[in-house]
């Protein structure tokens, strides 16, 4: 495999992992609010964060491009913070995070809903505050669902194509991910390279799922 291919693989695995870690606290928070509380605008919020799951990824990408482009938040960020978002690795991160967020929230929400609320209530009668209840009761008991949610999110991020290509382009050495590289190779009739990358993404997906199952299993026994 060429140095260029290694770079693509490393970049993809890393940025997908980073995206999963970045969305984790928000995902836990959103899932918790959806699972345990009723508030005005809940349905709207639910719909908005689910949109990336049902809209064409390219459309979501276009939305992000408009929003974070130089005429949107991107311009403001560039002016005041001195860095660009679109067509950089940050745009890849943004696309992956937005696209995988609903998967994380759905999975974690179901897991929180599966925790007997009585346990949380009784923890409160024992003097525990909300944060302590969350981290010592809810999260440990929803652990398996949280891990599967992170796995799903990571897998979704690894394979993201449509939104990424819209906001980050396909800049070799900068924003090219495995999916983009496979597409490009096939376009250029470079089948060998395409199949090599196909093999790599299979291995990555396999490792991610297997590691997740291992964590869940270890936790159970």
């Amino acid at each position: 495999m060429s140095a260029e291919e290694w770079q693509i693989i490393g970049f993809t695995a890393w940025v997908a992992a980073l995206s999963t870690i970045v969305i984790l606290p928000f995902g836990l928070g959103a899932a918790w609010l959806l699972a345990r509380h009723d508030w005005p605008g809940k349905t709207l919020f639910e719909t908005v964060i689910t949109l990336p799951l049902v809209m064409p990824p390219v459309a979501t990408g276009l939305l992000l491009l408009t929003f974070f482009g130089n005429n949107g938040i991107g311009g403001f960020v560039h002016k005041h913070l001195g860095f660009r978002i679109i067509f950089t690795w940050r745009a890849v991160l943004l696309a992956l995070a937005v696209m995988s967020f609903p998967l994380l929230v759905r999975s974690v929400r179901t897991a929180f809903e599966g925790v007997n609320p009585r346990l949380e209530q009784i923890a409160r009668t024992l003097g525990a505050g909300d944060l302590r209840v969350f981290f010592t009761i809810s999260v440990p008991l929803a652990f398996r669902g949280i891990v599967s949610g992170m796995l799903l999110a990571y897998a979704r991020a690894l394979g993201e194509f449509g939104a990424t290509v819209m906001v980050a382009g396909n800049i070799p050495g900068k924003t090219t991910t495995i999916s983009l590289a496979i597409f490009e190779s096939v376009q250029d009739f470079q089948d060998t390279e395409a199949y090599r990358l196909l093999g790599v993404s299979t291995v990555l997906a396999f490792i991610a799922v297997w590691a997740g199952e291992w964590v869940i299993r270890r936790r159970k026994s």
Binding site: N116, Q121, A123, T125, L126, G127
Partner: protein, 358 residues
């Protein structure tokens, strides 16, 4: 401890829980049929649910007052709660469960140390185990110990023995009595079991369809239920419709179907005519063969309709012109060789026939 519950109103699916009662007992039983709102009431005291209106005060501290928008969150109430499903934390060990809410230093009850609680409830050998490895009775004691270790000023118990079989129940009751006598933690105890109530409680509140049907000392309620609802909730076995024939020297004669019952008149409203006559099964004595004369006023000839086991006792259903239930020991049944169809005489003292005006 004084717990004041005023203007409580919580709309539930089929009725509204409406409570106005002051609780002062060391152990107060909240007694009532399933679905009477007992758990809802405990949840409210623990601060686990909202109410349309409520005023709750424990000693001199207001815990909830909807009119002033006061709501002390459960973690600050100092009220221990053992719910019906126990809610032990399955991912933590017994020790971690016990220590989860342990209070030390200020505000801690000095007699409620881990060492002492573990000893009194006899769970020392369980401390290093996992929750999932405990039996039903062990889980019960761990859940109670966990609540005690948070140094509660009031302990709420929701049918703590309902999920256990009879012999196990009998073994847990002494532990609860020890908590009452040794740690002196006041308890509010939801149950629909008479034996538990009699064994543990000194006061009781009878809830029927979300309303307090009667409250007061346990013995008084069992002996003098204020209404057929209370009699039913307390499972006073025989509740008969009757009419008062006459009252003489505090002794009422009541016609029940073809039979006549003598009852002590405990202050029926003047002119009361239609009454319910309530007789508890343990107050019925059965004689076989010719009745010897004795002090009981009511001698009711009848036939045995059926016999069935009721815990350690035998429940004997009689037909005395009206249905009458008696609770006897198994030994008595065997000694008298009782069988369905036997002709017997049932005896009930006049003061054990309790009259409620209807």
């Amino acid at each position: 401890m004084a717990l004041l519950l005023k203007n409580i109103s919580v709309p539930l699916a089929s009725f509204t829980l409406e409570v106005d009662v002051e609780i002062r007992g060391r152990v107060t039983a909240i007694f009532g049929p399933s679905g009477a709102g007992k758990t809802t009431l405990l949840d409210l005291v623990a601060g686990l649910r909202p109410a349309q209106s409520a005023f709750i005060q424990m000693d001199d501290r207001i815990l909830m007052d909807t009119s002033q928008r006061i709501f002390v969150p459960s973690r600050r109430r100092g009220i221990g709660y053992v719910p019906q499903d126990l809610a032990l934390f399955p991912h933590l060990s017994v020790r971690q469960n016990l220590l989860y809410g342990q209070k030390s230093g200020d505000g801690a009850n000095p007699s409620l140390t881990l060492d002492r609680v573990v000893e009194v409830l006899e769970i020392r050998s369980l401390v290093e185990r996992r929750i999932t490895d405990l039996s039903g009775g062990e889980k019960q004691r761990v859940a109670i110990a966990r609540a005690l270790l948070s140094s509660p000023r009031l302990l709420l118990l929701d049918e703590p023995l309902a999920s256990l079989d009879l012999p196990l129940r009998a073994r847990i009751i002494p532990y609860l009595a020890r908590i009452r006598d040794e740690f002196r933690v006041p308890m509010l105890y939801v149950t629909h079991d008479r034996f538990e109530t009699l064994a543990l409680a000194d006061e009781m509140v009878v809830l029927v369809n979300g309303k307090v049907a009667q409250s007061g000392p346990v013995q008084e309620l069992f002996n003098r239920p204020a209404s057929p609802d209370v009699a039913g909730a307390l499972a006073v076995e025989t509740v008969l419709k009757g009419t008062i024939e006459h009252v003489e020297n505090g002794l009422a004669t009541v016609a029940v179907g073809p039979a006549m019952l003598a009852a002590v008149d405990h202050g029926l409203p003047p002119g009361a005519h239609d009454v319910y006559a309530c007789i508890r099964a343990e107050n019925v004595v059965i004689l076989k063969g010719a009745g010897v004369s004795n002090s009981a006023r009511n001698h009711l000839p009848g036939t045995i309709h059926s016999l069935s086991h009721d815990g350690r006792l035998m429940r004997v259903e009689l037909d005395c012109g009206f249905p009458l239930t008696a609770l006897l020991t198994r030994q008595s049944c065997e000694d008298m060789n009782l069988a369905p169809g036997d002709r017997v005489t049932a005896q009930v003292k006049a003061q054990h026939v309790h009259l409620i005006a209807r």
